[in-house]
């Protein structure tokens, strides 16, 4: 498993007519095999962080390292999972799951085996020949995960992967994500708008400030992943603590629980 590190990373891009500073001197280290959740108000540069880590953006200042090596482009074993799943509607479930392998020139036979395993792992093996348009939102998300599993990715970067799902499917998928991590032990960065999701899936929770995104707080969450955590008092306490921190950032108003999930504009 690999580590991920942001060293004093800033990113400024040309918006419409003016320079926009999306991230400001962000320093963060993610240990090998550690699942980290990132939460913060809309437009705080959370998605930018992931694109930088994936090698799709280059920092204006500072540098990003994966496994000790500076990120200069797309890395083979990094998987990026986007809010709308990044699935291609014209490819079947199997072809979507195997796309990363295909692009890397893995032979058809080998691809078939790896894809079958990956689809099995996320529980959609029966839909290998269907198209994404025929799947429910939850199954599409499973497919996006299957692509990362088929690639044998050791670093999963997830940009609000569950934000479009209804509450029940969402909890279901959170368990899938947790199960995958517990079995595979990959390094994970999960960007989310949901306090509960951050607490359920992040061993550490990083709170970013409004634009320009800056590290505002890091919350340790050692009980993450323990059995029955979601319904334990410790879980609720952690959520309350996080809500308080976010209120300090102006992201939520104290006392407005239960939280209303917000659809983000990326």
């Amino acid at each position: 498993m690999v580590s991920l590190a942001f060293h004093n990373v800033s990113l400024t891009y040309e918006g419409s007519g003016r320079a926009v500073r999306a991230l400001d001197a962000l320093t963060l280290e993610v240990m090998p095999g550690e699942p980290v959740a990132v939460i913060g108000p809309s437009g705080c540069g959370k998605s930018t962080m992931l694109l930088l880590a994936a090698g799709l953006l280059t920092p204006s200042e500072g540098h990003v390292e994966v496994g000790g090596a500076q990120v200069v482009g797309v890395r083979r074993a990094t998987a990026l999972i986007l809010q709308d799943y990044g699935l291609l509607p014209w490819k079947t479930v199997a072809d979507n799951a195997g796309l990363g392998l295909e692009l890397r020139g893995v032979s058809r036979d080998e691809r078939r085996t790896l894809v079958a395993e990956a689809l099995e792992r996320v529980g959609i093996a029966d839909f290998a020949r269907a198209y994404p348009g025929e799947l429910s939102g939850g199954m599409r998300q499973r497919l996006a995960l299957a692509r990362a599993v088929a690639l044998d990715a050791d670093l999963l970067l997830m940009d609000e992967p569950l934000s479009a799902l209804d509450a029940l499917t969402r909890e279901d998928l959170q368990d899938v994500l947790l199960g995958l991590w517990q079995r595979r032990g990959h390094t994970a960065v999960l960007v989310t708008h949901s306090i509960e999701e951050a607490v359920y899936l992040g061993r550490r929770i990083v709170v970013l400030s409004p634009r320009p995104g800056r590290l505002s707080a890091v919350v340790d969450n050692p009980a993450m992943g323990t059995a029955g955590y979601r319904s334990s008092p410790a879980f609720y306490e952690r959520c309350a603590q996080l809500r308080g921190l976010l209120a300090g950032e102006g992201a939520v108003h104290p006392g407005t629980a239960p939280e209303i999930p917000v659809r983000a504009e990326s």
């Binding site: 994936a54 014209w90 692009l103």
Partner: protein, 249 residues
Amino acid sequence: MSAVRRAAGYVGATVVLLVGWWALALAVGSPALPGPVVALTAFVTVWPQLWPETLVSLARVLVAMALGTALAVPTGLALGRSARADAVFAPLVFLTYPVPKVVFLPVLLVLLGLGNAPKIALIGMIVFFQILVTARDAAKAVPHASVLSVRSLGASRWQVARHVVVPAALPEIFTALRIGTGTAIAVLFLAESIAGSNGIGWYIVDAWGRIDYPSMFAGILAMALLGVVLYELLDALEARVTRWRSAGR
């Protein structure tokens, strides 16, 4: 839609058309508009002379559309995906697109003679521009998330084009092709009737000149048939290459 329902639809539409035609011919009462019985009898009678002309016309449209599409799709997609190329060539396209290409027919006839070349060039040019503009817009509209996700998997520019841009643009390209078919056949008629000595367009005008109205109408029927066949071919091709669109519906 199942094949049976589709066939039933065609039969129903044909019956309505035939009855309307028959009523209209009766009302007009001119030999220039024969009724369906006269025209269809003539169609069967003159078919031995008509089918070679139909084949010539079909070949011209097919070659012209294939050439126009083959040139327009890559160009249009490239313009849509490259801001730099677009900045240079888009003004050129927008200046030339509204010019009715059919006015260049005399020029083409002078330059390319009276054979297949000027007809194919003219139709190809018209199809080229229609597909070019559509492909460009379709490539521009490709969802950024699709491109990002495929690039994050390590796709090169060409792989992005092959796995994302081309399939995303296909449905719109087919729509443009279908609309282009109508224009292509209309221009084919014009080009064949003005110059040359074969093709259905020539056949219709020739029969007209001989005041052989039943034969002229047989030619018109052949032209209509040509349109239907092309349209159906495109439909079948589209269903094949954009299979995902009909899945689960």
